[in-house]
């Protein structure tokens, strides 16, 4: 199919300094967990996007000097020749596909804890970071300013030598240039503090020096948080940003503008729970009014109509994207080919971000199971190896894992029957997407539904069977499939079993009228009383989401939690606004408690740290501490039991115990994936499905084959020409 003419504007080239972007799709800097130390990962992930149509791709934030060391979090680094060599892998790979390649030069100030380098970061004034609250910076004197600006220049030269086309001075997310600009950080009274002109000086001088050093060869970009969302305590778009842009415009070839800071950077990388596509435009749109240079901006742009509209209406010149490019590295190419319905739309869950926040692990994506697996497993998101046999498959369960497995098996050319008792593909996603703010999570299902519908038409022996009676072990054995994949998901515990005690809670029983599982709440299968208590031991979204839903439905909700409520939502950047929401809705949270027993309308809670803090050996059968004596009864009309999940293993175990009947039924193998294997993130369940489908020809496809590791190699020194023996100072 041909491109829709209304999207033509997205494919018009645009000049940025000495370089030309071939179209308006631009991957802004974002972490993937590769940095400079996993050059293969870095090169494969970014070059694949250029193959998928992005005009430019960037590294993640890239440290210019050991004084800006973010360990435990993983940035790229351009400190020395060793880093130049490793990053060249990325620029070479990107240039093969005719894309531009950028670095985001980063100096963190007090936000960089320097846990590896043990350096002392510098900043405009001395303060403890509100993000890394243990870390203080040293207030720069004029020598320090010269020195740090020199770090930018040296790093820019190394970037040019490594083959980069775009060099950023990174001043969004509250990093150093913005710390100078913002009165929230900058308390100086010299020529670098006070008036806006003074506060802008550090940034503008740095841009000028970098431009002078590499401006003939590289486009100079700057990332600028045009509003830090704390009103006049920080940077405000109309008061400060417009002036700053005018002052700096001559030294910038392209503006990359967003909002927010680092401690709450979910205001930039807005989760779909709280923010829609284009949510930053009310701030970003001002910049083009004062700049003569191209302006690019992000806002989880996934819809080509919206992108075209944003450019046509003069709000931005270039569509910046992080997450949409992660979820679908081929997004531009699909728009170009008029295959808009094939786009794997980012669901805005921010699980990609969670891995950076946790500090170190490679990025994963809920929608795109190949994300992060490009190099180490050789997975291409749009290309699949041909089927290695004539085997036919029965996949039981069409949730995230089963639908992904069926999709990839079909893409590979296998005959697949995907069977589900639900009326719609998607399994648990169908109900999860009905929770407040989680509607866009349904895109996970929608993508697979559309693809499966297309694939099933290409092979008349394949079939999607929905709304069928749950299959029994006999049904599966007699089905006539060579291989059976069990993806029957997981259920919430009905008896209060939980991660703290690993046992049920006495008296909890969701087959009774006043105790409910989350599924029962979502199905609306039981009446729920006015006063609801949610007993929580799950670290993710279910308890906060149910609390919101039930409160909005008119119930009075209390959450009693044995684990930090919504803990994983810190990593997905959903936590700050989740807490605001809970506060605003008046949802009471009782923290650090667990339940000793429950009755129809009340539950007994105890403080989890209620036992004695002194530990001593007291003999067999005795706790080595004083026992807790503090118990409180709490009354409720309905109790929601959000304490843990368990795999639905009946079918898999039933098939395993009848292994001796496999051969007579021509069954060659039975496998289990996703939550049915063990409850996990939707991203990991999706990964399971993709992995099994790609590795199905192995002797034991149930268990992943080793992936290609990128690690420091003994005998190969990081710095060219260096030694690697153990040596001490003498």
């Amino acid at each position: 199919m041909a491109r829709d003419s209304k999207h033509d504007i997205l494919f018009e080239p645009i000049q940025i300094g000495p370089k030309v972007l071939r179209n308006r799709f631009y991957q802004v800097p974002h972490c993937i967990g590769a940095g400079s130390d996993k050059p293969g990962f870095q090169a494969a992930n970014r070059s694949l996007k250029v193959e998928g149509g992005w005009a430019a791709v960037n590294t993640e934030y890239l440290s210019i000097h050991p004084e800006s060391d973010d360990t435990h979090r993983l940035s790229a680094r351009l400190w020395d020749e060793g880093d130049v060599r490793n990053l060249r892998a990325m620029t070479d790979a990107v240039h093969k596909h005719d894309g531009l390649c950028g670095v985001e030069m980063w100096y963190g100030g007090s936000h960089a804890p320097c846990m590896e380098s043990r350096c002392t970061p510098r900043g405009p004034s001395q303060y403890a970071s509100e993000f890394e609250t243990m870390t203080y910076c040293k207030e720069m004197d004029l020598d320090d300013i010269q020195m740090v600006q020199g770090y930018y220049v040296d790093a820019a030269k190394r970037a040019r030598d490594a083959g980069f086309d775009i060099v950023y001075v990174y001043g969004a997310h509250s990093y150093l240039p913005l710390q100078f600009l913002s009165p929230y950080y900058n308390k100086r009274t010299d020529g670098y503090g006070g008036s806006l002109e003074n506060r802008a000086r550090f940034w503008i001088e740095t841009l000028e020096k970098v431009k002078q050093a590499v401006g003939d060869d590289c486009a100079i970009a700057t990332r600028f948080a045009v509003d830090t969302l704390i009103a006049d305590a920080g940077v405000e778009v109309e008061r400060d940003a417009l002036k700053f842009v005018k002052l700096a415009d001559d030294f910038v070839d392209v503006w990359d503008v967003n909002v927010g800071d680092i401690a709450e950077w979910g205001e930039d990388a807005g989760p779909s729970r709280f923010y829609l596509q284009g949510h930053q435009l009310p701030w970003q749109r001002f910049i083009k009014q004062v700049s003569k240079k191209p302006v690019l901006g992000v806002g989880r742009f996934t819809d080509p109509d919206k992108m075209a509209e944003v450019i046509r209406s003069g709000q931005l010149d270039i569509i910046g994207a992080a997450r949409p490019s992660i979820a679908d590295p081929f997004l531009p190419e699909k728009i170009n080919q008029g295959r808009v319905d094939d786009i794997r739309t980012c669901i805005g869950c921010n699980v990609c971000i969670s891995r950076w926040e946790i500090g170190g692990p490679p990025m994963i994506c809920t929608q795109n199971a190949t994300s992060g697996e490009e190099y180490r497993r050789g997975w291409h998101p749009e290309k699949f190896p041909k089927a290695g046999s004539d085997d036919s498959f029965l996949v039981v369960g069409s949730g995230p894992s089963g639908s992904e497995c069926a999709r990839v098996l079909m893409e590979r050319g296998y005959t697949v029957h995907l069977v589900d008792s639900g009326e719609k593909i998607g399994g648990s996603t169908n109900s999860i997407a009905t929770l407040p703010g989680l509607g866009e999570w349904g895109y996970h299902r929608d993508y697979r539904e559309v693809q499966l519908d297309k694939l099933v038409k290409k092979n008349k022996d394949s079939q999607i069977a929905l709304g069928v009676k749950p299959l029994t072990v006999d049904d599966c054995l007699e089905y006539g499939a060579d291989k059976i994949v069990i993806a029957t998901g997981a259920s919430w515990n009905t008896d209060g079993n939980n991660a703290l005690t690993h046992d049920p809670v006495e008296g909890i029983d969701t087959s009774t009228p006043t105790h409910l599982t989350p599924e029962q709440v979502l199905e609306g299968s039981k009446p729920i009383g006015k006063k609801v208590l949610i007993l929580n031991c799950d670290p993710y979204y279910m308890a906060p989401s149910l609390a919101q839903k039930l409160t909005e439905d008119g119930h009075q909700v209390t959450v009693a939690s044995g684990v930090s409520l919504g803990n994983y939502m810190h990593f997905t950047l959903e936590a700050p606004n989740m807490h605001r929401m809970m506060h605003e809705l008046g949802i009471e949270v009782i923290g650090d408690v667990w339940a000793s027993k429950a009755e129809a309308n009340r539950i007994q809670l105890y403080p989890i740290f209620g036992d004695g803090y002194r530990r001593e050996y007291r003999g067999p059968g005795k706790l080595p501490r004083r026992e807790n004596t503090h118990f409180d009864w709490h009354e409720f009309d309905s109790l929601v039991v959000c304490t843990g999940r368990h795999s639905n293993t009946e079918l898999y175990e039933g098939l395993k115990t009848r292994k001796d009947e496999w051969a007579e039924n021509d069954v060659k193998g039975v496998y289990v994936i996703g939550d049915a294997w063990a409850p996990k993130l939707m991203a990991d369940a999706t990964f399971d499905g993709q992995r099994l489908a790609r590795e199905i020809e192995l002797d034991d496809p149930q268990h992943p084959k080793p992936y290609r590791r990128e690690v420091a190699v003994w005998g190969a020194p990081h710095m060219p020409g260096d030694t690697f023996e153990i040596e001490y100072e003498s």
Binding site: S392, L394, K457, K460, D461, Q463, G480, A481
Partner: protein, 265 residues
């Protein structure tokens, strides 16, 4: 007791499609094919009868269509039945319900069928006529839009429920042999298993022409049809517009549209 179940391969139109150059049908390049939805129900009814009465019941799917249409027979045979019949000849192109019914009626006679179970209608042309034409040609009893039926082998009479307007049902008795056109929802059609699909490939499908039953070319195809397609086209749709912007902007746009419609721009 033998039950003949005529099934049809219908075209599913892509979102973007074009009309054939002669303006009488959709261009086949824009069609996907599948079994007519109603025929899943009539075949399921036959399968259920066969499962209930075993050897006393033979069920045979029949399709009138070219090579590719054999897929729908495989579709049926993957769920049950032992053999299928496909009738085709180039002279059958552009047959309407009546012309197709000529063929079905002949097969029913040839097979000594006791019942012919058709779908109430086919989703592509929606005439809802084929079944009743077959009954007319055979001069058999008939019931259309059947929502419930109780067939037993050797019964002289059967009871059927027919779906009427406004949710009203009518219960009638029908003499055997009979032609019934089966309505959606009468049962829950099963899906084929992989085993069934593999086995279906080994089941015989007898391929015949209308001539094998003594029908002439003049009795089928366009010539044998009572109706003729003169023209196929997409009717013009009114233009809907999503009005965005502030309340004031929206009001302004609405006023503009009213003016445009009144013609005084």
């Amino acid at each position: 007791m033998k039950i003949l179940v005529p099934v049809k391969q219908v075209g599913i139109i892509d979102e973007d499609y074009e009309i054939r150059d002669d303006g009488k049908n959709v261009d086949v390049d824009f069609l996907d094919y599948e079994i007519n939805e109603w025929d899943n129900y009539s075949w399921e009814l036959a399968l259920n009868l066969q499962e209930t009465y075993g050897e006393a019941v033979e069920i045979v799917p029949l399709t009138v269509g070219p090579d590719e249409a054999e897929d729908v027979l495989l579709n049926c045979l993957a769920k049950g039945g032992e053999r299928g019949i496909r009738v085709w000849d180039d002279a059958l192109v552009d047959s309407d319900s009546m012309a197709i019914a000529q063929v079905i009626a002949k097969v029913a006679e040839h097979e000594n069928a006791d019942y012919v179970l058709t779908g109430t209608l086919s989703s592509d042309h929606s005439f809802a006529a084929t079944g009743m034409c077959v009954a007319g040609l055979l001069n058999w009893a008939h019931a259309a839009v059947v929502s419930k039926v109780d067939i037993t082998p050797d019964a002289q009479q059967i009871t059927v429920n027919r779906e009427l307007e406004a949710g009203i049902e009518e219960e009638i008795t029908v003499e055997s042999p009979a032609v019934l056109s089966i309505q959606l929802g009468i049962n829950e059609p099963r899906y084929a298993s992989l085993r069934g699909i593999k086995q279906a490939k080994a089941k015989p499908v007898e391929v015949m022409s209308h001539k094998d039953f003594g029908l002439t070319d003049a009795e089928v195809g366009e010539m044998g049809s009572l109706s003729k397609v003169r023209k196929m086209y997409a009717p013009e749709h009114s233009q809907a517009e999503l009005i965005e912007g502030t309340v004031a902007e929206q009001a302004k746009r609405i006023a503009e549209i009213v003016k445009e419609l009144k013609g005084d721009t």
